[in-house]
């Protein structure tokens, strides 16, 4: 019984969700960072998750190999949506046409992403606490 693998799985889930929260915070903080050049303006970032099969040696049971998938952040991609163009000649960053480009951050989407990430984080914390309690109770078996 390798219950300690649970800590690895839950730890990976917690860190993946916190990376997601980091990108949400970064997007929201930069939602108004305009620029005169559409190629250098901030673009919304999102993490990509991938399930990783556990690295097990030979001789482990097939069920041990089938379960035990932790999650890892494969990478952080930048959104390809076009930045919004605005006519604002008074802005010091405006280009020669008087346009500024605002990042393509959808604030509503970011907020719902944050709610989903925090819910998943709480689920993982609960799994961690419960597994830890169960293991401690197992150690007290018979006494």
């Amino acid at each position: 019984m390798s219950s300690f693998k649970i800590f690895d799985i839950v730890g990976s889930g917690l860190s993946a969700q916190s990376v997601r929260l980091n990108t949400v915070a970064s997007n929201l903080a930069n939602a108004d960072s305009v620029s005169g050049d559409p190629n250098t303006v901030y673009r919304a970032r999102h993490p990509v998750f991938q399930a990783v099969k556990a690295q097990v040696g030979a001789g482990t049971s097939a069920i041990d190999q089938a379960s035990g998938a932790s999650v890892k952040v494969k990478g952080i991609v930048q959104s390809n949506a076009l930045p919004t163009e605005r006519y604002d000649p008074g802005n010091p960053l405006a280009n020669e046409d008087g346009n500024v480009y605002a990042p393509n951050v959808n604030v509503i989407e970011e907020m719902t992403d944050m709610i989903s990430a925090s819910r998943a984080y709480q689920d993982n914390v609960e799994v961690l606490n419960t597994s830890k309690d169960l293991m401690l109770a197992t150690l007290k078996l018979g006494s």
């Binding site: 019984m1 219950s3 693998k5 649970i6 799985i9 839950v10 990976s12 889930g13 993946a16 969700q17 997601r20 990509v48 998750f49 991938q50 399930a51 030979a58 001789g59 482990t60 049971s61 097939a62 069920i63 041990d64 190999q65 089938a66 379960s67 035990g68 998938a69 932790s70 999650v71 989903s116 990430a117 819910r119 998943a120 689920d123 993982n124 609960e126 799994v127 419960t130 597994s131 169960l134 109770a137 197992t138 078996l141 018979g142 006494s143």
Partner: protein
């Protein structure tokens, strides 16, 4: 009269092992609740217990030569790791339903603690019989 600890403890050690496996599988599902393309799995507990305790369980493989590939005798348990049927389709191919997984996790926790209590009672009974008090 020979005393067998295995028959005295009954199905509870097997149930405990399976329940701890199921905790891992459900924790997997919850950790991958947002991974695109991840399919939620669960252990068919009834079928797994039936195959673990029945007298016509599959033949266990043994290795008596260093050249043999080591196979764990519990490989038959993998047949009971099944996929969940998703209630609602998701755009990214993920079939994990957090609420369902949470409920299954709570259910498994209570069963695990019940099995621990039963095992503990068995051991206490044995100790009473040995020490006589």
């Amino acid at each position: 009269m020979p005393f067998s600890l295995d028959t005295y403890l009954g199905i509870h050690p097997d149930a405990l092992k399976l329940q701890s496996k199921r905790t891992e599988v459900i924790a997997d599902n919850l950790a991958n609740a947002d991974t695109p393309g991840y399919k939620a799995r669960d252990i068919d507990f009834r079928a797994a217990m039936a195959s673990a305790g029945s007298p016509d369980a599959p033949v266990k493989m043994t290795t008596d030569n260093p050249g043999h590939i080591a196979i764990d005798p519990n490989t038959d348990a993998s047949a009971n790791l099944k996929y969940r049927t998703p209630l609602a389709p998701a755009l990214d191919g993920n079939t994990v339903d957090s609420q369902q997984e949470q409920a299954a996790f709570a259910d498994n926790t209570v069963r695990y603690q019940a099995t621990l209590t039963f095992l503990s009672a068995r051991f206490k009974g044995l100790m009473t019989a040995i020490t006589g008090q």
